[in-house]
Symmetry: C2
Subunit: 291 residues, 2 copies
């Protein structure tokens, strides 16, 4: 049981966690924190949080669990703002989509990575953002990856794991470098590709016409290009090396498809497309198990 | 009113057209044709067609409307098979996703592009294929592009337009070269990108894990990679020049995103991502009008 949960950054991710924990009876009080009082008041009105503070020191006072759900680029400033203000028994975690950069931010802000800090990443979300889009079942059957360091207190990791489990998630642990490589492949690269495709098309001469003749598949394919640009800018800066590596891989593969097209090499194209369809169908089957 | 409709290739596209026209009372009899008698019998059992022929000459006998819905690579053989067999008053059209190559196929098979042939392309479909996936409302409020040539009989174009309108579609006319450029951008490129992404990921060392941690957005993004590989091989061969040009555009833009990531140029990334989101949201709003 969490006595006082402090959510710093009450948007889709933080708001949904607060809703889930309240609904599960897993926390007694939720304090929201952030810079925008209007947004925080909305969160109170929606019943997502009990009260809010715009001052970070006041926000974390008395909290036994502090979850930082701000864009990656704002992590270090938040850490600096709560340094020395946390309760002795408090556990600190975050929900950033890249882990190496958050760990570095903690190191810079605190002087070392605190033993009570458990880096985390819920693999959930939609292209929506903001507390209005939050809902209590966002994490049900979703993965949450924790990337504790050797120095991280086992007890802190346990408490963060229990929190996410109470929200319905499946929690796994992973090395932060490995996390960043896997996420670069499976989430960061696709987002970059989708943003890039829509941007390419929007700069063609006949843009209006192009979008006019886009069919249903295009809408699905580009849905993730409606995601929050600030969040994705921060991810690309924070996990740049891993993302760049994946882009290089991808461009090489795409160039080889392009060559096959140039050579009218139908056999090779059929090979690639069949292998891709089989891989995706295998993946869909796997996902079917956990919904 | 169509007296006898002949659908050559009874899958998702041909089957859905037959269903729609029957439901609208816009045709009296539907004859299916193809090479696979088992599939055609399924189409009869499902009530999609009245009867079938596996011999093309017999299939088109007595038909006043012949619609060829086979993969692009099979067009020329079908045209050769029906050459000299069509009724004098018959109109011929197709549903191929690229138009230049179909027109060339007709030219080779018939010796010239017949005046009764109206090249066409319904912008509809799902990643499913086969007559079992067909449904009568597939074309409702969807675009159908016709690309008649100067020599095409106006009366033939009118009859094909009326057919698609009876199926619920919005019919527009376009130059075939322009059609192929627009579709390369809006449909062919995204499919190549999706196939290529899944293929890239499926050849990483930790493939299982990669797909394990893929979230909802990835499923949407890669849905089109579950499309029929044969159909897409044919499209890539048939519309190769236009697709290659789009891939080149895309790689150049992606490389510039990659550079911005390398330089940690957050401003440039935010610019690109914001522009893309705005373009997509504008497009979504437009589509909202027609559902």
């Amino acid at each position: 049981m969490i006595e006082r949960l402090c959510i710093i950054g009450v948007g889709l991710i933080g708001g949904s966690l607060a809703r889930a924990l309240r609904e599960a009876g897993a926390c007694q009080e939720v304090v929201g924190a952030g810079r925008n009082a209007g947004n925080l008041q909305t969160a109170v009105d929606l019943g997502v949080i009990d009260r809010f503070e715009t001052d970070l020191a006041r926000a974390v006072a008395g909290a036994d669990m502090v979850v930082v759900c701000v864009p990656l680029g704002a992590m270090e400033a938040v850490f600096a703002g709560i340094r020395g203000q946390l309760e002795k028994h408090a556990v600190l975690t975050d929900a950033g989509s890249a882990k190496g950069s958050v760990i570095e931010a903690a190191q810079r802000a605190f002087g070392h990575v605190p033993e009570f800090f458990v880096p985390g990443h819920p693999i959930a979300g939609t292209e929506q953002s903001g507390v209005e889009a939050s809902f209590s079942s966002l994490y049900v059957d979703r993965r949450v990856i924790l990337t504790p360091l050797p120095a991280t207190a086992a007890n802190a990791t346990d408490r963060v794991r229990e929190m996410w489990q109470a929200a319905g998630a499946q929690v796994v642990s992973m090395d932060p470098v490995h996390h960043d490589a896997v996420l670069a492949a499976t989430s960061h690269l696709p987002h970059v590709l989708a943003f890039s495709l829509v941007d390419t098309l929007s700069r063609l001469d006949e843009t209006d016409e192009v979008f006019d003749y886009a069919a249903g598949g295009f809408r699905d394919f580009t849905r993730i290009a409606s995601s929050d640009p600030v969040m994705w800018r921060d991810i690309c800066v924070a996990n740049g090396d891993a993302i760049q590596l994946m882009i290089e891989h991808y461009i090489a593969d795409l160039q080889s498809v392009s060559e096959a097209i140039q050579n009218q090499d139908g056999e090779r194209l059929l090979d690639i497309f069949s292998r891709a369809r089989a891989a995706r169908d295998r993946y869909i089957d796997k996902q079917g198990r956990s919904g």
